[in-house]
């Protein structure tokens, strides 16, 4: 799969690359400038030294003589252990000094020093030469004074400058990189805030996003809001359609069922009564299926983005029991609520949990004989367990795994109407909350026990 490109990464890499280029340029420039400055200094001293030597040239009896001023050489000693060489040539003949000191670029003009870099005795040396004219004869003599110095001191200086510059450059790079990381993060913070505001929403929350957005994100927010508006409109149209359809279909069904009840009352022959009863049961079956299909769709939809609202399971169980108590009453079934007085807090989707409990309890009532008890219990340990145990026919050796699949009904149903979706709904609700549905024979030895097991989140 292709990784989505990350704005943050891109921003960060770009800023880091700029920082790297800047650091490198800094190091190079500092090194260049520093070594140039050091070289210039050496050249100046060499030239000054050569000039000082040239200044002490004299003529005696037509001969050029030199009283070497050692101060002229000692001023070169400042640069650490570099060795110093010199050579004085009169009309091309060495007067004094190192005769083999190479002087490749001898100066042409008076008092303008020339410089060159040579190899001498295995080391690199810098040579400065000065031209002087000494009036010892009628024509005078051209004297070239050359002073040379090895360059290891210079190299050391330049190395230390380079190290320092590199260190500073690296430090700058690291600092700039850290700052760009922070900058990239803070630039994207509004985006993250908006993302958070949208992802935290419940499944049916389609209100416009109001989280504060920077100018650049306003068009995106506007687009998102207008999209949600359209979605809201379309959902509410669907909702209206379902309501309208349910109303149109169920009203005539209710008419037929009511008329059938009236007719049933008036008929006398058992076979006629049976025919009407079958008709009523068929109506009940279709109406129940339609309701459960919608409930199932609702559960599937809500499971996609589960809302975790804080709720009280006891209140929820009580509401469900209240709703079904009249139905149980019709069969003289007592709903025994063996529940604690205190509340049992839980984070979940109340509507889904009610749908699950409703279906489990509805089954218990359907599959129980009259004059029996149904116990509703809750146990909280590592996980919450809501169990509904009846005294009915039980699951009696059926394959329990199959019962939670869609539209599957057990072999024990007899002529109880049903659509095979009840346990499917309950199972899906349990699994959406990270839990499970457990089917077993109830402890009392007969009847079924269905437990909704919910882990704390």
């Amino acid at each position: 799969m292709k990784q989505p490109t990350s704005i943050r990464k891109r921003l960060f890499y770009q800023l880091a690359a700029v920082a790297a280029v800047l650091s490198l340029a800094f190091v190079l420039v500092v090194r260049g400038v520093a070594s140039q400055a050091a070289e210039g200094t050496q050249d100046d001293i060499l030239a000054a030294s050569a000039t000082a030597i040239a200044d002490s040239l004299t003529s005696e009896d037509g001969e050029v003589t030199l009283e070497l001023p050692y101060s002229a050489l000692s001023m070169l000693g400042t640069i650490n252990e570099d060795r110093v060489f010199y050579r004085v040539m009169v009309q091309g003949e060495t007067l004094t000094g190192y005769t083999d000191l190479p002087v490749t670029r001898s100066p042409r003009r008076l008092d303008t020093p020339t410089f060159s870099t040579e190899m001498y005795r295995g080391d690199e040396v810098r040579v400065a030469s000065v031209l002087r004219r000494v009036a010892n004869t009628a024509t005078g003599s051209e004297v070239v004074v050359s002073v040379a110095q090895t360059r290891s001191g210079l190299a050391a200086i330049s190395r230390s400058i380079t190290i320092t510059a590199t260190g500073v450059g690296l430090l700058f790079f690291l600092l700039a990189t850290t700052l760009s990381l922070l900058a990239a993060n803070s630039a994207l913070r509004p985006l993250r805030r908006m993302t958070g505001a949208v992802t935290r929403r419940g499944p049916s929350d389609l209100r416009p996003v109001t989280a504060e957005a920077p100018k650049e994100l306003v068009p995106l927010v506007d687009a998102l809001n207008s999209f949600m508006g359209r979605l809201r409109a379309s959902l509410s149209r669907t909702e209206d359609l379902i309501s309208e359809a349910a109303h149109r279909v169920r009203t005539p069904l209710a008419t037929v069922r009511t008329q059938a009840e009236v007719t049933h009352r008036k008929l006398n022959k058992p076979e006629h009564k049976k025919a009407i009863r079958d008709m009523i049961r068929a109506i009940d079956e279709s109406s129940r299926s339609a309701g459960q299909i919608l409930d199932h769709a609702m559960v599937t939809f809500r499971a996609d983005s589960l809302a975790l609202d804080p709720l009280d399971l006891i209140a929820l169980i009580n509401e469900t029991c209240d709703r079904l108590a009249p139905t149980a009453d019709l069969k003289d079934i007592a709903l025994l609520r063996e529940l604690p007085d205190s509340s049992v807090p839980f984070n979940g989707d109340g509507i889904m949990l009610q749908a699950a409990l409703h279906n489990i309890l509805d089954n218990a009532i359907k599959y129980s004989p009259e004059d029996s008890d149904i116990a509703v219990r809750i146990a909280s340990g590592a996980e919450l367990r809501v169990s509904i145990a009846d005294q009915g026919r039980g699951f009696g050796g059926m394959d329990l795994k199959d019962l939670t699949t869609r539209y599957s009904r057990g072999t024990n149903v007899g002529d109880v109407v049903g659509s095979g979706l009840g346990l499917t709904i309950a199972d899906e609700v349990a699994r959406a909350h990270g839990g499970r549905l457990e089917l077993s024979q109830s402890k009392e030895g007969q009847g079924a026990c269905v437990s909704l097991i919910l882990p704390y989140v």
Binding site: I242, S243, A246, H247, V249, R250, T251, P252, L253, A254, T255, V256, R257, T258, Q259, E261, V262, H264, R265, N268, P270, K273, R277, I280, R281, I283, D284, S287, G291, L294, D295, M298, R323, A325, P326, T327, D329, L330, K331, D332, I351, Q354, A355, H358, K366, E370, D371, D415, V416, V417
Partner: protein, 221 residues
């Protein structure tokens, strides 16, 4: 009991009225919200059955107006929607309960009883025979110093006898009254329940008599 039925579908309304009358209830029918308001101005009802989609408005708005005006007559909403979410919103609006179309009248009656019991407005919904008082809402049976509470089926059976003392009811009629359509009922079951009622009525001024070959009737002891 006196019902107000607010339902715009004439056929359904007609059938519901007839069905409720079969059980001995009085029913007024309004097919619009304004007609319903007019009915409520002139009569007192024990219970309102309210449809949601009506030609001159939404039943839920009517419900809300009632509750805002502090009118406490219990309302059971007849809705085409069964989802839990619909129920929660209905109850929030002040409905006492709801029933989904198509519905079982035994269930409707059970819900009415539950609502009236909760409301405490059940005291006067009672019948008396020979000093024996049966409260049709709570199922309380009183005579002399004794008072017992009947279970649902016992109540539904005794209710039939109290509605027409002295009249003979066939077993099959009694089965119709006592069992809903999802139950498999046998004539045996009637004998069981009659036996229970006889026990309950011991010492009272009433007695259930077997009329051989015809059924049962309630006569003075």
């Amino acid at each position: 009991m006196r019902y107000l039925l607010i339902e715009d579908n004439q056929k359904l309304a007609g059938a519901i009225v007839e069905r409720l009358q079969l059980d001995g209830h009085a029913v007024d029918h309004a097919d619009r919200l304004d007609a319903a308001s007019a009915c409520m101005d002139v009569a007192n009802y024990d219970l309102i059955l309210l449809d949601i989609m009506l030609p001159d408005g939404d039943g839920r708005d009517f419900l809300q107006r009632q509750r805002r005006a502090e009118k406490r007559t219990p309302v059971i909403v007849i809705t085409a929607r069964s989802a839990v979410s619909d129920r929660i919103s209905l109850l929030d609006l002040g409905a006492d309960d709801y029933i989904t179309k198509p519905f079982d009248f035994a269930e409707l009656e059970a819900r009415c009883r539950a609502v009236l019991r909760r409301q405490g407005g059940a005291a006067d919904n009672q019948k008396t025979f020979e000093g024996t008082v049966l409260n049709l809402t709570t199922g309380a049976l009183q005579f002399g110093d004794s008072s017992t509470n009947l279970r649902n089926r016992e109540l539904r059976l005794l209710e039939v006898f109290f509605a027409a003392p002295g009249q003979v009811f066939s077993k099959s009629h009694l089965i119709d009254r006592m069992f809903s359509f999802s139950d498999e009922a046998s004539e045996n079951a009637i004998e069981v329940y009659v036996a229970r009622l006889r026990k309950r009525l011991e010492g009272s001024g009433a007695r259930i008599e077997t009329v051989r070959g015809l059924g049962y009737r309630m006569i003075p002891a």
